[in-house]
Amino acid sequence: MSAQLDEKLMIPGQREQAANNKPAFAEESILNLDQVNIYYSGKAAIKEVSFPIAKQKITSLIGPSGCGKSTLLRSLNRMNDFIPEVTMDGLFTYNGQNLNAPSVDPVEVRRHIGMVFQKPNPFPKTIYKNIAWGPNINGYQKSLDELVEHSLKQAALWDEVKDRLHESALSLSGGQQQRLCIARALAMEPDILLMDEPCSALDPISTAHIEDLLFELKTRYTIVIVTHNMQQAARISDYTAFLESGELIEFGVTEQLFTMPQKQRTEEYVTGRFG
């Protein structure tokens, strides 16, 4: 299966197949990238990248610093719109719709595709308000109390904060803050959760907490994670995309990519010989 998958996905010009969700890839894909280019002030940061993102799986993006993986991640929920120098082309097909089509409202995109950032960035408000604000402004009708509890439980934070929901989120430790940010994103019940190096600012214990959490979450959510940590990518993800200098070097089943990479560069990178 994987040989076929690699072959199909690695060969450029498979535009039709990626766009039409043909069974090149054994999973049901929720988001498809097809010939994506992203430019900073006209200079290409991401070049002709195509790969699918499997539904309810974890896809990790790896590669050396500056390879464009964070830029690519931010393009998946239109967060690059806030950087005026960034332009892009190519197709991002999400549920049959191009994310960048003029008729698509970026605010709507972000309601379905949530994001957790590199550094924990809770709002300087109470723990409760951190979670409840997003659903509230988006017209959530049911009980916010229940939603807050449910989200915090999903993020494995409930037991630690249930007695202090109305204290400032800034009183939490870094690892707790990051789990709060995850809970905040989950409260929107997103289809896809994007994570930009969510553990890079955390100690190993908090990192382990979050990795356990990701395992739990993938039964319900699709997760795309950027990570610098090879072991983390190997441990948690189902699929891995390896990028270098804005180009997709290799995409495939994680185990395959780490144990039997098809490309020399991938092997060098995952075994730590460069990057």
């Binding site: 806030f82 005026p84 949530g114 809770p122 709002f123 604000w133 402004i137 988006n138 905040r184 929107m188």
Partner: protein
């Protein structure tokens, strides 16, 4: 005997000692300058208090101005100033904060907006008398608002708007980008983000700017004289369309008289003006502490 060469950490290094001397010299110089500023202010306050304490009583606060120093009071000027400050706050704060929010959060960084920004910075440096002339031409004559409280408040609002805008923009700039991104990633619009997160987070800074601006407005005389704030008012304004006087005008008027008693009255009025200012500042500090938590 072990000399300096053995111990690299001893203090006998002459070069290092010279650097330490320079540092302590500079810090004493700074302390001296700071102290001089404070001392001058204290001297001024002392002088004002010595002159003004004599007439400062309830009668002074509850009387209208008079030809006789013993019967003269500050009532109409005090009420006029309170009216003026309230109107200015109502006009200038919403416009100023909204402008700052627009420039920081919504506007595209194009040539027109850069021009607007440049002009606002320049306006902050325009002499207050010039605003008085604008106020006279625009509000008193152009809009036929007469020599009323509202004309005065509008003119003063123009005067302090640049200060409020600049201070608010600086406060808004200090809100970390990550907070905005967090809100956007939850499917918030720019307006929702600005209203729920950027504005509350920058509120303490905005408040500081607003208080600075209002303090300036409360002490300004020139524009009010220009637009015709009266110097002798023996009634209280009922509404924004009434004519008025304000404390700086009354002080100016008393100082300009030859009799020594009136100079003392002016000092008393200055004490009242400073008290109003202090109360405003204290209120701001209390509000800021409440919201920061």
């Amino acid at each position: 005997m072990n000399q300096s060469s053995d111990n690299a950490l001893n203090t006998s290094d002459r070069h290092l000692q010279r650097r330490h001397r320079k540092a302590s010299l500079f810090s004493s110089f700074c302390a001296l300058i700071t102290f001089m500023g404070v001392a001058l202010l204290a001297l001024l306050l002392y002088q004002v208090c010595v002159d003004g304490i004599k007439w400062l009583d309830i009668q002074f606060l509850t009387s209208f101005p008079s030809r006789f120093p013993a019967r003269a009071g500050i009532l109409s000027a005090l009420v006029g100033t309170l009216w003026l400050i309230s109107l200015i706050a109502l006009i200038a704060i919403p416009i100023g904060v909204a402008t700052a929010l627009y420039l920081e959060e919504f506007s595209k960084k194009n040539r027109l907006n850069r021009l607007i920004e440049l002009n606002i910075s320049n306006l902050a440096g325009v002499p207050s008398i010039v605003y008085g002339i604008i106020g006279l031409a625009l509000f008193v004559r152009g809009l036929n608002l007469e020599r009323s409280l509202i004309s005065g408040a509008l003119t003063m609002s123009l005067l302090i708007l640049p200060v409020i805008i600049i201070a608010s923009r600086e406060a808004i700039k200090t809100v970390p980008m990550s907070i905005r991104h967090a809100a956007f990633a939850l499917g918030a619009t720019r307006w929702q983000t600005a209203w729920a997160h950027v504005l509350p987070a920058s509120f303490p800074g905005i408040l500081t700017g607003v208080i600075l601006a209002l303090s300036r407005a409360i002490g300004e005389t020139a524009p009010l004289i220009m637009i015709g704030g009266l110097t002798y008012v023996a009634f209280l304004p009922d509404g924004p369309m009434d004519s008025f006087t304000a404390m700086p005008i009354q002080i100016y008027n008393w100082v300009a008289r030859p009799q020594h008693e009136f100079h003392q009255l002016a000092a008393s009025a200055i004490i009242v003006l400073l008290a109003v200012l202090l109360i405003m500042n204290a209120a701001a500090i209390v509000i800021r502490h409440k919201t920061e938590r």
